[in-house]
Symmetry: none
Subunit: 212 residues, 4 copies
């Protein structure tokens, strides 16, 4: 999709373009993001951006598809690290999520906006890709946990995947946008949240339905 002309740009300029555009999408979502503002802040011609990416959607696609693959990498690394127990991998997955949010806060903001905005372009494709990868990853973890005896043999794997995903996804929201839950807890620090999450999972999974 992206034209060669963008790939041939000097690294520094290429990064500036992506950063500025990512910020714009993170702050305003898709439709309310303004190409005008982006090129104005960048100090480049409007036509250039369209040469690089074809149109607004092309720009967004370029940014977010890279984000998706960046998000997948650490999960693979955890999965492929030998010698870890199931709950250690879960905990590391959670921490990997927080690290991604810390490293790319604007990309996560875009993701959150996309979650509930049905008109976000490419929404189905991107969300499907993220969910699919996450589910596949969790399924492998859970199956490993069953093999290792850390999880009950009769566990309904699909239901466990569903629950794990929901819990991890939603708790990451609270981590990324503390204001969501603020005013509620005096000071819910990351370790405290992680401990609460771990406790929930450790006990909760025991009650997840088993296959009939």
């Amino acid at each position: 999709m992206t034209k060669n002309t963008f790939e041939n740009l000097p690294d520094e300029k290429r990064q500036r373009v992506l950063d500025e555009a990512t910020t714009e999408f993170a702050e305003h979502g898709y439709h309310q993001a303004s190409i005008n503002r982006i090129v104005e802040r960048l100090g480049i011609a409007k036509g250039s951006l369209f040469k690089y990416f074809g149109n607004k959607q092309g720009l967004f696609e370029h940014i977010f598809s890279r984000a998706v693959s960046d998000f997948k990498k650490p999960l693979k690394a955890i999965r492929d690290t030998p010698g870890l127990g199931f709950f250690e991998r879960i905990e590391q997955s959670f921490l990997a999520g927080t690290r991604f949010v810390d490293a790319h806060p604007n990309l996560y903001r875009i993701y959150l906006k996309m979650l509930f905005n049905e008109n976000f372009p490419l929404r189905e494709r991107f969300l499907g890709e993220i969910r699919g990868a996450h589910a596949k990853y969790l399924r492998q973890l859970i199956e490993g946990g069953v093999r290792d005896g850390q999880l009950p043999a009769a566990l309904d794997v699909e239901m466990a995947v569903f629950t794990l995903h929901a819990v991890m996804d939603r708790f990451l929201q609270g981590y990324a946008v503390p204001s969501l839950d603020n005013g509620l807890a005096p000071a819910a620090s990351l370790p405290e949240q992680a401990r609460a999450l771990a406790a929930f999972l450790r006990h909760g999974l025991a009650d997840i339905p088993t296959q009939e």
Copy 2:
């Protein structure tokens, strides 16, 4: 804010106006919602809508402030119903949430869009009001649970409020927008989700930190 002229309209027309506008906001969020589309679907003049509500924000305020008070009512009813145990009240609260989502799906869609869209007008006010009411309600429930001996006496109430709120809020997301977690679980029915939620809470609360 609302001009009298709207309150004086025939009930049926008033409801049509609110329904159509609510749908528009639910589908497109605030900025991308179009007054033009609303009046076109309603078959009324553009000026009329502005007479009713002053401006776009006035229309949104009218719709959503009613939603907020509609959301608070059932919680009060549960709190004031005598003879219920703590976990029964929690379960009923969860069901009240699902009933609200079922009765006003578009209002809940607006809420979800507002959650992560920092530019939503009146966002701080409305979210603050909702969170405040919910927190106060949960605090009363928990304190009652402690008095009744159903919860440990040393429980850190504020942290419990925080955790309960986060869990209930996030699980309601999954209920309202099943596509969020779909593709993951084959068919996570409401009772199943409710059971999973209950299990999490029952075990999880035991591990919530106690006051030092």
Copy 3:
């Protein structure tokens, strides 16, 4: 033009309507004046105002035609007061102008706006009426001054009328809108301005061209 229904209103309400409308025209001119704002401040129905005056122009006509006749009255009184010299009458005319401005500041503001706004409705009629009355009045004064020997017999009466009118009109501007000349003189009080005006006229008229 004005319907009977307005004349039949209670005095107090009638006056409120006129005052509020006059203020609106004075502040915003004709086109920028808003019927909406007027009825809003009055707390009466929009339809009523249209019943009273037919349309916006009818309202303005009612207001300003009364202003014109109010402006003419004191001039007639000065003219008909016996035993005054020419320059005394001129000075009193100037003071009558300042009194009118003090008594009806908003009407004078409307007049000033109308002066240079070619699109003011009824402008030609009203300005012509005012100028005609003023010219006729000044002509009578000057002819009296010539008869009394206070002005040279060969004075070009029409040119003197022109000059007197221009001077009085323009100096009244400075009186009504002091900010026009402020920042220039430290504190040009009314008596000082009156003295300067008198001096100018006393000497200036001696040089006004005489009929060839």
Copy 4:
């Protein structure tokens, strides 16, 4: 304020845009001027005008700030011309005013509308700038006249500035909008008006108050 894009336009087009817009403001004032009419007459897209000037006020600012500096230039030239007496400079100032009005009648019409229209944007800034420049100029002239002995040494300079400014400003009104005084004088030609003005000043200044 003005974007580069306008400065890069071909001279002829740039001039057409400014002329058409100036005419619109001159005919209708600020608020009643219509961007729609301007672009329609120009045959360009609405968006283009906003690209050039940002918004309506930017367009007006561009036009009128140039007018202000155009108005100042000839005054500086007169001041810096050696070998002229005080009254010669005054007469030339008056003629410079008439020349400006003749060369830019529409700009002067805008100025007159701005004088009494409190809602004109940038009114305070522009009027202040014009009055300040004029006052400074007149002050220099008068101080020169006092040095040369053409004006009494005890003259209250500030009061003389005030009076001169008021007289020149108001007489220029009559020159620019003859209809203001028409119907009064049969045919007040420029030389006749100039002579009348000169006479007034020559005699009048002698009576301007001297410092205490």
